[in-house]
């Protein structure tokens, strides 16, 4: 059965958008299928792996488990919006220099979770960080280098360039 489409207004990576969407699609579908932003990944579709994590009004959310209708009037930041003016975000730079990732599939989700955490709690302890990153599964790395990279950014905010906004 064809569902009626509804209009939503949402700001994605700083760009205001108006989109007619089916009511049953998720935020992940919206980003990937309507906006061509494929950085957020589908992996588990059960809110348990974090590969689809994006930031919704300052909060890291799993976009596979948020209905697109729920983001009407809100702001979404995806991994594609993390670098500004051809300059990588300090977390991106730290991930590169620590060789934090391997296959890279979970990396966009990890970056967004880490950004939301550091924005709220700029100086987490390693335990706080590990607890906070529990929702972002990774099968390749054993997490160690991700944790080191994020801790490095937290402890040396200037090392990878000043943090934006």
């Amino acid at each position: 059965m064809e569902l009626a489409k509804k209009l939503i207004k949402v700001t994605v990576n700083g760009e205001p958008r108006e989109l007619w969407i089916k009511q049953n699609i998720t935020l992940l579908d919206l980003l990937r299928d309507h906006l061509g932003l494929t950085g957020a990944k589908m992996s588990c579709i059960s809110n348990s792996c974090g590969a689809c994590t994006v930031i919704l009004d300052d909060m890291a959310v799993k976009s596979c488990s948020v209905l697109a209708m729920q983001v009407d009037g809100k702001e979404v930041l995806t991994v594609e919006g993390l670098a500004k003016d051809s300059k990588l975000h300090p977390l991106q730079q730290a991930f590169i220099e620590h060789v934090a990732f391997q296959c890279g599939f979970c990396t966009p989700g990890k970056l967004m979770s880490a950004k939301a955490l550091l924005d709220e709690n700029p100086q987490p302890t390693e335990e706080e960080l590990r607890r906070d990153m529990e929702g972002n599964l990774c099968r390749c790395t054993g997490y160690q280098k991700y944790i080191e990279a994020i801790m490095d950014v937290a402890q040396h905010p200037d090392k990878y360039g000043a943090k934006e906004g």
Binding site: R32, G36, L37, T38, G39, A40, K41, M42, S43, C44, I45, S46, S48, C49, A51, T78, V79, E80, L82, A83, L88, Q92, F95, I96, E97, H98, V99, F101, Q102, C103, G104, F105, C106, T107, P108, L111, L129, R130, R131, M133, E134, N136, L137, C138, R139, C140, T141, G142, Y143, Q144, K145, Y146, I147
Partner: protein, 788 residues
């Protein structure tokens, strides 16, 4: 050897920018004009006859472009193993019967996913369930349901190994008592060994199926051009050769008209090596509709319908002298194979061969069988064979040491092989860092102060493992090209699949080291079957030793060409020249030299337009034409072995039986670390994956149905579970490795699992004979011990 400039450094990955910005395109991210979406209907029965399939309602649904069943793919067979002895037997889509829950029975292509899903609901299938069997030992009994009950293969069908040049034709046979694989390897006389022994010990373990759980689900995008006959495919895979071979063989499209395009691959761990039904169905549907087709598996289908690791029952009898000399070993294996063979025949062989480079056992018998069961297929997972056997052998080693009053470290060291040893199959241990691995982890972990002395509920354990560096497998070679560019940079063409393990970065390092360049001076073209040479990829951890080495050889070839031209330009001898920073200079007078771009122009002008292209190739086990015998283990296996020793320290909560891994130390012999950061990452990865294997990972079945086919019920380690991990380089450079390097991606996992198992025993003195070490098993074991 001189100091390295680029090799043996922890430099950033070549694919860094793509991976931190979301630009990296994985198969699921591919979108093509007019693309259709495909879905597969899967069997809800473990074993049933298909009486009738009615697709008429689905075909009439608006938006549906094609519906196919086993009638459309009639007679098409595929499998990981397709040898004269073991011809493959898996249909692309089930034909007259289904053999496991999750087997494909129909597929649909439609304009969008919702329509495709709706169409699946409209397909009516009449099944007639027949008795099923889920336990391999039940399956082998007289009178058990026969899962195949038909000739394998169909008469006249050529097996893959015949296509690849093996003269012997595939035997055609009807499996008896569901036995679909067997192995019988031996040397010396194990019975005589036991007769000479002062002490004999026999134990039996069960190792379950686990899931690879790569974060990217399996999937395929296929685009067929009916006018040219070319089929482009994008796959989540571990090497394009096997994939395009099977698509070609099943669909009858010439292999040169199938192009596996470069994609980023979101993890593999062995679970994306073989071809799958969906990777044949997507191109089939694309050819049928003339449109691109995307087919991505949801996570539950990854669990139920692709493959899991290989489950084994392992019986080991060992004879030992009082002084700790091992004199005999007899291994008996039973594999719960699943409905089709998967890689079980390989695994049964590897259970022996992966361990044969470790201990010197003069009298040995190694037997195994694989039985068909009504479950999904099982496959290689990161060091398969080694992973299962190491738990068994290494825990038994500890128990023997305990019974004989020997120190477990000394007992192991006493029985290790020696550098330079020639194994019974004639593999030579040209490098052998294992003793050093053991000594270094024992020292780093403060073993001597801790073993048996940590107090109640705490323990420390040691285990060792080995891994091949590639083996004889199609296409039996890896090729590579390094070409000079106008500005003196180079472009590297390599076929090996990059799925996170880092071969593209490390090969750039090899090339840069050889040519005096930096990694930034190298453009990379990789993972595309049309743009890159024929490539073996990374089977059995041959990535570094075979495929990456081909890149180094191509760089060496280019280097000689550059030096020859430069010598002519500078009027010097080649031996008196050196190269650095896109320039060749005279060793005795470094100010005198010519730049690479000048050398290229000179070559083009004075040497018939020669644009300077280096070629390299490398064959795994060059002495043999094809492959070792899986069933007899005869023939050379590999050119070098990597080694790991792992120590784990654990604490056990007596109230719950829950194990916490406190610290893992890994001593690893990978020959030479080419990228130190990537190597650390590989070891940390295996430490954490091995912890999951040891403590909680198990794919669970009820009457053939997977009951934990998602990441809520099937847990993998999370960031907070991770212990402290110390990695120690104990490398013994191999004379045949690129700059001495060997594999580092698979060896350690097995040792980590074994070390955790041994640490738990040290803490509890409870022998747990099955993985994983669930809290419940430990709790019950402790309770029984308290009662006794």
């Amino acid at each position: 050897m001189a100091e390295f400039r680029v090799v043996n450094k922890g430099i950033p990955r070549k694919d860094s920018i793509e991976k931190v910005t979301g630009q990296a395109k994985y198969t699921f991210d591919i979108v093509l004009p007019e693309m259709l979406y495909a879905k597969i209907l899967r069997s809800p029965h473990a074993h049933a006859r298909i009486v009738n399939i009615d697709t008429s309602k689905a075909e009439k649904l608006p938006g549906v472009k094609a519906v196919i069943t086993g009638k459309d793919t009639q007679g098409m067979r595929f499998g990981f193993v397709d040898t004269p002895r073991y011809p493959c037997e898996q249909p692309v889509i089930a034909e007259d019967r289904v053999r496991f829950i999750g087997e494909s029975v129909a597929a649909v292509a439609a304009v969008d996913e919702d329509t495709a899903n709706e169409a699946l609901d409209l397909i009516d299938i009449e099944y007639e369930p027949i008795p099923a069997v889920f336990d391999p030992e039940e399956a082998m009994k007289e009178g058990a349901p026969q899962i195949h009950g038909e000739q394998i293969p169909a008469p006249g069908r050529k097996c893959a190994w015949q296509d690849w040049g093996v003269a012997r034709a595939a035997r055609s046979y009807n499996p008896v008592n569901n036995i679909g694989a067997s192995v019988n390897i031996g040397y010396g006389d194990s019975e005589k060994g036991f007769a000479d022994a002062d002490y004999i010990r026999e134990d039996t373990w069960v190792v379950p199926r686990t899931n690879h759980a790569a974060m990217e689900p399996h999937g395929a995008v296929a685009s067929y051009n009916p006018l040219t006959g070319f089929m482009d495919v994008w796959l989540s895979h571990m090497g394009y050769e096997l994939k395009r071979y099977w698509i070609s063989k099943t669909l009858g499209i010439p292999i040169s008209k199938i192009r596996v395009r470069k994609t980023f691959v979101g993890g593999a761990f062995g679970g994306k090596a073989q071809v799958f039904d969906h990777e044949i169905i997507a191109p089939f549907l694309s050819r049928k509709t003339g449109k691109p087709v995307k087919l991505i598996l949801p996570r539950d289908e990854v669990f139920t319908s692709t493959n899991n690791s290989i489950a084994l029952k392992i019986n080991v009898k060992k004879g030992v002298k009082k002084d700790g000399t091992i004199v005999g070993q007899h291994v008996k294996l039973i594999s719960d194979m699943g409905a089709y063979r998967g890689s079980v025949p390989v695994c049964l062989f590897l259970c022996h061969s992966m361990r044969d480079a470790i201990y010197n056992i003069p009298n040995l018998t190694h037997e195994g069988v694989g039985a068909y069961t009504n479950k999904s297929t099982t496959m290689a997972k990161r060091g398969h064979g080694s992973q299962q056997m190491t738990t068994a052998i290494e825990s038994q080693m500890d128990w023997i040491a305990e019974d004989l009053g020997l120190d477990p470290v000394e007992f192991r060291l006493k029985n290790l092989r020696r550098k330079g040893d020639v194994l019974p199959n004639r593999d030579t241990l040209n490098s052998y860092g294992l003793p050093d691995c053991v000594k270094k982890v024992v020292e780093a972990s403060n073993w001597k102060e801790k073993r048996g002395k940590l107090g109640p509920g705490r323990g420390i354990g040691l285990a060792v493992s080995a891994m091949f560096n590639g083996s004889g497998y199609w296409p039996f070679t890896a090729g590579s090209i390094v070409r000079m560019n106008h500005d003196g940079t180079v472009t590297l063409y390599m076929g090996q699949a990059e799925f996170g393990q880092g071969p593209t970065t490390t090969t750039c390092q090899l090339v840069a080291e050889e040519l005096g360049l930096n990694v930034e001076d190298i453009n990379l073209v990789d993972g595309d079957s049309e743009l890159c040479p024929i490539d073996y990829s990374n089977w059995l951890s041959g990535g570094m030793f075979v495929s990456c080495k081909a890149g180094l050889i191509a760089a060496q070839d280019l280097k000689q060409q550059i030096l020859k031209i430069a010598a002519e330009m500078l009027e010097e001898n080649v031996e008196d020249l050196e190269m650095l920073d896109r320039r060749v200079y005279i060793k005795a007078d470094p100010e005198e030299g010519v730049a690479f771009d000048e050398i290229l122009r000179y070559s083009i002008q004075r040497h018939d337009g020669d644009p300077l292209i280096g070629k390299g190739f490398c064959k795994p086990v060059p002495e043999i034409e094809f492959y070792p015998s899986l069933s007899k283990g005869s023939g050379r296996w590999t050119d070098a072995y990597s080694f790991t020793a792992s120590v784990a320290e654990v604490s056990i909560d007596a109230e719950t039986g829950r194990t916490k891994v406190e610290h893992i130390w890994i001593g690893d012999d990978c020959g030479r670390e080419i990228n130190t950061a990537i190597c650390q990452g590989q070891l940390q990865s295996q430490a954490v994956m091995g912890m999951g294997d040891a403590l909680f990972e198990e794919v669970m079945f009820s009457e053939g149905r997977t009951i934990n086919a998602n990441f809520v019920d099937y847990e993998i380690p999370r960031a907070f579970d991770v212990p402290k991990i110390t990695t120690i380089d104990a490398s013994d450079p191999d004379p045949n490795g690129p700059f001495g390097a060997k594999e580092i991606g698979e060896c350690a996992r097995a040792a980590v699992i074994g070390s955790i198992v041994n640490a738990v025993y040290d803490a509890t003195k409870v022998k747990i004979m099955s993985l994983p070490l669930h809290p419940e098993k430990i709790f019950r074991g402790l309770a029984q011990k308290a009662e006794a």
